[in-house]
């Protein structure tokens, strides 16, 4: 093979060596070029969005947050989840590679990518239990110090695989029967989950991630009457998680202690006459500078409409716990992301035409407009949108 290629290469070069017979002598000919690989993506803030495939390559896509250019993709396995470090330099995916695509031995792996070069730097084989599910932010979560990563399993029994990223090894599997999604605490090796009996449960591990130190549950919600969405927000740096329920309540939950604690339930819809309800996937987004919670809402809800695209984006002022604005984007959205600026940029995924759209949010409506669409880009998927400076 190597010999053959040498011949081939020499042949190409032979072409290049043929003297030019210029048609237009005034214009110098195009210089010979060499194929290469772009060594790194262009600098600047990035939008990350997972394009999940269930029968082949999933791609963790990277777009410029400035001009929506596609910077490239990190290729990974089927039904992938993605996550990005706080500084935006490292990305993580979990996914499944089946030996014969739809059957055969499953390799379930954590892959670590260098975002600049979009290249795999490490791969860690996982217990073949990871959940194969639509993209949700809290199925793959970093610990506060980013030394550990938590991975949601379902066999269908629920558990969490803990990986020590420094050691590059699985440290343990935490049994989490009946509990789902992972909300890591702001410090320590600690995370909270929502459980099928309506509790929230906090798991605390020892500092090597090899043992459960504590697991304490608190009754939180009624799974029949007012179930919580599993997409949730941390309220800035506070030890407080914000959950939204099917009927439009916002649950403020403290995860400061060893057990979760309900702080308060505030209603999005209490003062609104027409029936509206939250719906979508990553249906909320939190902006710290203004203490705003953005929620995708749809009119005329019914049993089963909780994943429908929303006609409106409602803004709750968390400082006072009241509905502040009802915004009407031109396109129905199912997922949101908002940055932490005082004049925030909001991002939304429109499942109808598979686009991510950006909106300038001006809380003071300086120019008479609170929400203005500023950009759009076609994506392969965008149920989870993440932006890193």
């Amino acid at each position: 093979m190597k010999k053959l290629l040498a011949v081939l290469l020499s042949t190409t070069c032979a072409f290049a060596a043929v003297p030019a017979f210029a048609q237009d002598a005034d214009i110098p000919p195009v210089a010979e070029e060499t194929v290469g690989v772009k060594p790194a993506i262009d600098p600047g803030p990035n939008i990350f969005a997972m394009d999940q495939s269930w029968d082949g390559l999933s791609t963790f896509q990277v777009f410029s947050a400035e001009d929506f250019t596609y910077k490239g993709g990190m290729g990974t396995g089927m039904v992938a989840q993605g996550q990005v470090s706080a500084d935006g330099t490292t990305a993580y995916t979990t996914s499944t590679y089946l030996e014969r695509i739809t059957w055969g031995e499953p390799d379930m792996v954590l892959q670590i990518f260098d975002v600049a070069t979009l290249s795999v730097t490490a791969e860690i084989m996982l217990p073949p239990k990871i959940t194969m599910v639509a993209a949700y932010e809290h199925l793959l979560q970093l610990s506060a110090d980013e030394r550990f990563i938590f991975i949601m399993n379902a066999t269908p029994a629920a558990s969490v695989t803990v990986v020590d990223l420094e050691a590059g090894a699985v440290t343990m599997e935490v049994p989490t029967p009946g509990c789902w999604e992972i909300y890591p605490a702001t410090s320590g090796l600690k995370f909270t989950m929502l459980c099928g009996d309506g509790a929230a449960k906090t798991f605390i591990l020892n500092e090597t991630g090899t043992e459960i130190v504590s697991e304490l549950a608190t009754d939180l919600f009624n799974v029949d009457d007012d179930p919580l969405f599993v997409h949730a927000e941390r309220r800035g740096d506070a030890d407080e998680l914000l959950f939204v329920s099917y009927t439009g309540n916002v649950y403020r939950v403290s995860d400061a202690g060893d057990a979760p604690e309900l702080i308060e339930i505030v209603s999005l819809t209490a003062d609104v006459e027409a029936p509206f309800a939250p719906g979508g996937y990553a249906l909320t987004a939190y902006n710290a500078a203004n203490d705003y919670l953005f929620v995708v809402m749809h009119a005329d809800p019914y049993d089963g409409s909780h994943k429908d695209a929303g006609d409106e984006v409602w803004v709750m002022d968390m400082a006072v716990g009241t509905l502040l604005y009802r915004l009407q984007p031109e396109h129905g959205l199912v997922s949101l992301y908002v940055d932490d600026a005082e004049l925030p940029t909001l991002y939304g995924f429109n499942e109808e035409d598979y686009t991510i759209r950006s909106y300038a949010i001006d809380p003071a409506a300086t120019h008479g407009i609170i929400m203005e669409e500023t950009g759009t880009v076609s994506v392969g998927g965008g149920l989870v949108i993440t932006v890193r400076e």
Binding site: A154, P156, W180, G196, D303, G304
Partner: protein, 181 residues
């Protein structure tokens, strides 16, 4: 609905005492399944297809309706109230049968659907079919009546229910009446 959920919760809590009349039979068939590629009824557990992957796919032509109590090619067919996936009936299978070359998921999610023909509510097991080839131009349905996130696993329809099979590739979804609600 509530009584179903109560019972599901009992299972989740591990407190259920109900011994099912066909447990042994069901387990026996599950073993067969693994070796023969035939499969049995699903279980208390749940759903499947993530979101609409039909983007750019044409929708299926109507199929003759014979013997069914509705148009099984239409997503508003009563059994599909919580079905999230491709219809196996358009992938080489039938309403309750996986396509040849695939196997039925050994676990499944359950919906409670109202049958307008007799006014009853039924428990419908949505089993995913696993492995095999792709579909050609299937209808994708996305019902979420009574659906809950993964903390109520048996009602969850975003997840691949081939998870407990050796063959883990998703193919399509069937809708099987497993009882009256």
């Amino acid at each position: 609905m509530t009584s179903y959920i109560d019972r599901f919760l009992e299972w989740m809590d591990g407190t259920t005492e109900r011994a099912a009349r066909r447990t042994a039979q069901a387990i026996g068939r599950r073993h067969v399944l693994a070796s023969l590629g035939t499969a049995m009824m699903g279980t208390a557990l749940a759903p499947m297809l993530p979101f609409d992957r039909t983007f750019g796919k044409a929708f299926a032509q109507a199929k003759p309706v014979g013997g069914y109590d509705g148009d099984i090619a239409a997503c508003d067919y009563w059994r599909y109230c919580a079905l999230d996936g491709y219809l196996c009936s358009e992938c080489g299978g039938e309403l309750t049968m996986c396509p040849p070359g695939s196997e039925a998921s050994v676990v499944a999610w359950v919906g409670t659907c109202h049958n307008p023909n007799d006014g009853r509510d039924y428990l419908v097991s949505y089993n995913d079919c696993c492995g095999g080839g792709g579909c050609a131009n299937p209808t994708f349905c996305f019902g979420s009546e009574g659906e809950r996130p993964g903390y109520r696993m048996g009602l969850y329809n975003d997840i691949n229910w081939c998870m407990a099979n050796e063959t883990k590739g998703y193919h399509c979804t069937v809708a099987v009446v497993v009882g009256i609600a």
